[in-house]
C-alpha cells in the first residue's frame, strides 16, 4: 500500500513521491489535445509498481485518453498533440529514441470489447511473439501454456488450442485477450473497461484474475463500475473534465474522500 496522506492542495494530490521504487509510471505535467480541444490538463502523478491503479470518472473525463497515452495508442488518431511527459520504468514513452513497437511490447493492453483475432486460440496467444519473429515451437508451446494458465483459461481450452478463438464465450475471449497481453511478458498491463461487456460471473473471474496478475505486473484499469474499482484496485484516481481531482489509496477515496466532487461521484450524485 502506498503512503497516502490526505491531500491538502486540491488539484494534484500526489502519492509515492517519497519512495523511488513506487514511481513505476511517472506522469509529468501531462496535457493532451485533440486538435484544439484540450482533453487532459496538466496531470502529474505516479503509479506504483505491482499494484492495481484504477482510473474512475464520468464519461469524457479523459481517463481512457490518459490510459491510451501510456502505450501511445493515441498515435493512430490524426491531429493530436501533447505537453509534458510520461515515463514508464524510467524511460519516456514519447522520447524519439523510444520505439513504439518495443514500447507496446512492454506495455500490454486489454480493451473494452474483447477483440481476439480470427485465428486459433494458440495463434492468438502467440501473436505478439510471432510479429517479433519468435517461431521456436517448444518456446511458443511453453509460453502458450504459461500465458493461458496465467489468464486462468488453460483448463477450459487446453484440449482445443487449435480451434478458432471466436468459438469462445465472451468472458473466455476477454481472458484470452489478457493471455495474449501477458504472453509478451510486459511490465505493465493497461485495461480499458475490461468487464463492461461481460456478465457478473465472467466479471468476477476477471477480477480474481486481476488480483493474481498484480503479483507480477503493474496494472492500470479504467472502469465505470465503482464497486469494481473498490474491489480490485489499490489506488484510485478520480478524473473530472480532464483534470485529476483526487488520487489516493482506494480506501481513502471511497471512505474518506478529500474532495467534495469525489464524494459526490462515488456516492452516485453525479457522473
Amino acid at each position: 500500500m502506498d503512503t497516502a496522506a490526505p491531500p491538502t492542495e486540491r488539484p494534484r494530490p500526489i502519492v509515492g513521491e517519497n519512495s523511488s521504487d513506487q514511481k513505476f509510471i511517472e506522469i509529468k505535467d501531462f496535457s493532451f489535445y485533440y486538435g484544439e480541444a484540450q482533453a487532459l490538463h496538466d496531470l502529474r502523478f505516479d503509479i506504483p509498481e505491482q499494484e492495481v491503479t484504477a482510473f474512475i470518472g464520468p464519461s469524457g473525463c479523459g481517463k481512457s485518453t490518459l490510459l491510451r497515452s501510456i502505450n501511445r495508442m493515441n498515435d493512430l488518431i490524426d491531429g493530436i498533440r501533447h505537453d509534458g511527459d510520461i515515463k514508464v520504468n524510467g524511460t519516456s514513452v514519447f522520447d524519439p529514441l523510444t520505439e513504439v513497437i518495443s514500447l507496446r511490447k512492454r506495455i500490454g493492453m486489454v480493451f473494452q470489447k474483447s477483440n481476439p483475432f480470427p485465428k486459433s486460440i494458440y495463434e492468438n496467444v502467440i501473436y505478439g511473439l510471432r510479429v517479433s519473429g519468435r517461431n521456436k515451437k517448444s518456446e511458443l508451446d511453453q509460453i502458450v501454456t504459461e500465458s493461458l494458465q496465467g489468464a486462468a483459461l488453460w483448463d477450459e481450452v487446453k484440449d482445443r488450442l487449435h480451434e478458432s478463438a471466436l468459438s469462445l464465450s465472451g468472458g473466455q475471449m476477454q481472458r484470452l485477450c489478457i493471455a495474449r497481453a501477458i504472453a509478451n511478458q510486459p511490465e505493465v498491463i493497461l485495461m480499458d473497461e475490461p468487464c463492461s461487456a461481460l456478465d457478473p460471473i465472467a466479471t468476477g473471474k476477471i477480477e480474481e484474475l486481476i488480483h493474481e496478475l498484480k503479483k507480477e505486473f503493474t496494472i492500470v484499469i479504467v472502469t465505470h463500475n465503482m464497486q469494481q474499482a473498490a474491489r480490485v484496485s489499490d489506488n484510485t484516481a478520480f478524473f473530472y473534465l480532464g483534470k485529476l481531482i483526487e488520487y489516493s489509496t482506494t480506501e481513502t477515496i471511497f471512505f474518506n474522500p478529500a474532495d467534495p466532487q469525489t464524494e459526490a461521484y462515488i456516492t452516485g450524485r453525479f457522473g
Binding site: D78, I101, R104, F111, L166, N184
Partner: protein, 553 residues
C-alpha cells in the same frame, strides 16, 4: 396498436407508399434480366437442336421456283406478315448457298400448294457454303464402283466416307501445323540469323563465311524435309477428292461434290427424340471445342473461349496486386487531406472514362512505347517484324487491367475501412508494426471485400470489346496464346475474344442472317464464362469469409 393492425387498411404503415415504386423498379429490372437471359439462352441453344426439313410444293408459275421442279426443301425459320402486302410470308433456311446464292429464301404462303416431310432428306454440314439440304443420288467409291442411294448400305457407307475424310483432314492439319510448322519456325530463325550475318558482313565488321555456309546447308536440309512433307500433305489433300457424292436438290438440280467437302450429315425427319438429344449434345461440344470455319460463321469457337479466359486471368493477375497495393497506401498510409481526396475523386472518375480511350492509351503506351522498346532491346534481329511492338494478349490484358483498376481500388478501400478498429488496435497493442498489422490482420479480414472488387472488375473486363480491337484481338488467330511450343506462353500473340467474336459475327460476316444464331450462342457462352469465373471468385470469397469470420469485432 392492436386496434390499428386489426384494421386491414392500416396494415401498411403510413408514408411507405414509395415501397411500391421501389419494388416496381426492382421487378422491372428482374424482368428485363430474365427476358434478356431467356432470349439469349433460348436462341443460343436453339442453334444446336435439329429441326425438321419441310419440302413445299409451289405453284407451277411461282417466281420462287429455284429450278425445274416447283419444290423447295428447307427449315421454316419464321412465319410473319409482310407489312407491305399483308400476306403471310415464310422465311426458309434452304441452305445450298452455292446453288441458290443465299442461305435463306422468303416465300409467300399463297404460293405453297402442299407441304411434306420427306424421310430421306439429308442435311449435310460442309466445309464451305454452309449446310446443304438434299436428296442423295449416289456415292462414287474409290475403287470405281458406284453405290446408289437405294442401296441399303448407302448411309453407313456415306457416314464412313465422311469419317475417313474428317480423320484425314485432322491429319493434314496436324501435319501442316506441327511438323511443317516446326520446320517453318526453324527456317524463320535461320533466315533471321542469315540476314544478321549478311548485314554484319556488309558493314565489314566480321566475316561469317563459315557460319553462313552452315546456315545455308541447314536451310537446304530443311527445304528437302519440307518438300517431302508438303508432297505428303498434297497427296492427302488429293485423297479428299477421291470419293464423290451425287445429290439432287428438291428444286431439281443434280450436283456432285467430293466427300472431302463434308463435315457431317443427319436425316432430320427420321430422328427420334433421343437422336435429337444426342445430336444436340454433340453439336454443343463441337461448338465448344473446335476451331471456327468459314469466316467464323461455322464450326466452333474454342480459340475465342480460350483467349477470353486467358486474357481475363492475366488481367486479374495484373489488376489485383496493383489495385490492392494502391488502395492500401491510399487508405492506410497517405495523410488524409485535400490531395488524397483529389486522388480519390480522380480514381472514381477514371471508372467513367470511355473504354476506347483506354484502348488508345494501351496502343500508344504499351504497344508502341513499351513493346517497341522491348523489340529494340531484345528482338532487334527480327525487326522490322514486330514481336511485342504489336497488339497481343499481354498488352490487351494490361490495358484492361488499367481500365478496371479503379473498381479494385474503390472496393479495396471500402473493405479496408470496414475492418473494425478493435482488430487493428489489438494487433498494434501486441507490438505489431503497422505493416504487420495490415499484412496479418487487416488484409485477411478485408479479403472478401477485395475479391468482390475483383469479381466486378472481371465482369467488366471480360465483356469489354472496344479497347481490345486496337490492342490485339483479331478475327482469326492462327494459334493459341498458350500451346505446346516452347516457351509455351506466347503472350505477344494476337488472340480471339468472345466479345469481339460476337461483333464480328453479327456485323462483319458476309452472311449476317446465317450468323445470327451463332451470335446468340456466342453471347450465351460469354455470359456463361463470366458466370463461371465469378463463381470461382465467389467460392474463394465464401471460403475466406468463413475462415476470417469477424463476428465479435
Amino acid at each position: 396498436m392492436n386496434s390499428r393492425t386489426s384494421n386491414k387498411q392500416s396494415d401498411r404503415p403510413k408514408g411507405e407508399t414509395l415501397v411500391w415504386l421501389s419494388s416496381a423498379g426492382l421487378a422491372l429490372g428482374v424482368l428485363m434480366v430474365v427476358f434478356l437471359l431467356g432470349l439469349i439462352i433460348w436462341e443460343g441453344l436453339n442453334v444446336f437442336w435439329p429441326k425438321a426439313v419441310v419440302e413445299v410444293t409451289l405453284k407451277e408459275d411461282s417466281h420462287y421456283k429455284m429450278g425445274e421442279l416447283p419444290n423447295l426443301a428447307g427449315v421454316v425459320v419464321k412465319r410473319q406478315k409482310n407489312t407491305r402486302t399483308g400476306l403471310e410470308e415464310w422465311q426458309m433456311l434452304t441452305g445450298n448457298k452455292d446453288a441458290y446464292g443465299a442461305m435463306f429464301k422468303y416465300i409467300t404462303r399463297e404460293h405453297v400448294i402442299s407441304q411434306s416431310f420427306p424421310e430421306d432428306v439429308i442435311v449435310a454440314e460442309r466445309m464451305e457454303y454452309g449446310n446443304s439440304i438434299f436428296f442423295p443420288v449416289s456415292l462414287q467409291l474409290r475403287n470405281g464402283s458406284k453405290l446408289t442411294a437405294e442401296d441399303s448400305e448407302f448411309l453407313t457407307r456415306f457416314e464412313q466416307a465422311i469419317k475417313e475424310v474428317r480423320n484425314r483432314y485432322h491429319e493434314i492439319h496436324k501435319l501442316e501445323k506441327n511438323t511443317i510448322g516446326k520446320i517453318n519456325r526453324e527456317v524463320n530463325a535461320l533466315t533471321i540469323k542469315q540476314r544478321l550475318f549478311e548485314r554484319e558482313q556488309a558493314e565489314g565488321k566480321t566475316l561469317h563465311e563459315k557460319d553462313l555456309k552452315e546456315v545455308q546447308e541447314r536451310l537446304a536440309v530443311l527445304q528437302a524435309e519440307f518438300d517431302v512433307l508438303a508432297a505428303e500433305a498434297k497427296r492427302l489433300r488429293a485423297m479428299q477428292n477421291d470419293e464423290v457424292v451425287e445429290y439432287r436438290l428438291s428444286s431439281g438440280q443434280v450436283r456432285s461434290q467430293p466427300t472431302g467437302d463434308f463435315v457431317g450429315f443427319h436425316l432430320p425427319n427420321q430422328m427420334g427424340l433421343l437422336d435429337k438429344i444426342g445430336f444436340f449434345i454433340r453439336h454443343i461440344w463441337a461448338f465448344l471445342s473446335e476451331r471456327p470455319r468459314e469466316a467464323n460463321t461455322e464450326g466452333g469457337i474454342f480459340p475465342a473461349i480460350f483467349g477470353t479466359f486467358v486474357m481475363t486471368v492475366l488481367m486479374s493477375a495484373a489488376v489485383m496486386p496493383f489495385g490492392v497495393v494502391a488502395a492500401i497506401y491510399l487508405q492506410e498510409y497517405a495523410r488524409q487531406g485535400a490531395f488524397v481526396r483529389g486522388v480519390r475523386i480522380a480514381i472514381n472518375n477514371l471508372a467513367g472514362v470511355p473504354s476506347i480511350v483506354y484502348g488508345v492509351f494501351g496502343l500508344g503506351f504499351f504497344v508502341y512505347m513499351v513493346g517497341g522498346t522491348i523489340d529494340q532491346l531484345f528482338f532487334s534481329d527480327r525487326l522490322p517484324t514486330a514481336t511485342f511492338g504489336t497488339g497481343g494478349i499481354l498488352w490487351a490484358s494490361l490495358t484492361l487491367a488499367i481500365m478496371t483498376v479503379p473498381v479494385v481500388i474503390v472496393a479495396t478501400e471500402e473493405a479496408l475501412t470496414a475492418v473494425p478498429r478493435g482488430a487493428r488496435e489489438a494487433s498494434l497493442a501486441c507490438g505489431a508494426s503497422k505493416w504487420q498489422t495490415i499484412q496479418r490482420i487487416v488484409l485477411p479480414a478485408s479479403a472478401p471485400g477485395i475479391l468482390t472488387g475483383l469479381i466486378l472488375a472481371m465482369a467488366r473486363g471480360a465483356g469489354e470489346v472496344a479497347p481490345l480491337m486496337i490492342v490485339g484481338v483479331v478475327k482469326l488467330a492462327p494459334s493459341l496464346p498458350i500451346d505446346g511450343v516452347f516457351p509455351y506462353f506466347h503472350l505477344e500473340r494476337k488472340f480471339m475474344h468472345l466479345g469481339f467474336h460476337i461483333y464480328d459475327l453479327g456485323f462483319q460476316s458476309p452472311d449476317s442472317e446465317a450468323a445470327r444464331p451463332m451470335v446468340f450462342a456466342t453471347t450465351f457462352l460469354l455470359i456463361l464464362l463470366v458466370v463461371v469465373l465469378n463463381l470461382g471468385a465467389i467460392l474463394i470469397r465464401n471460403h475466406l469469409r468463413k475462415k476470417y469470420a469477424t463476428s465479435t469485432f
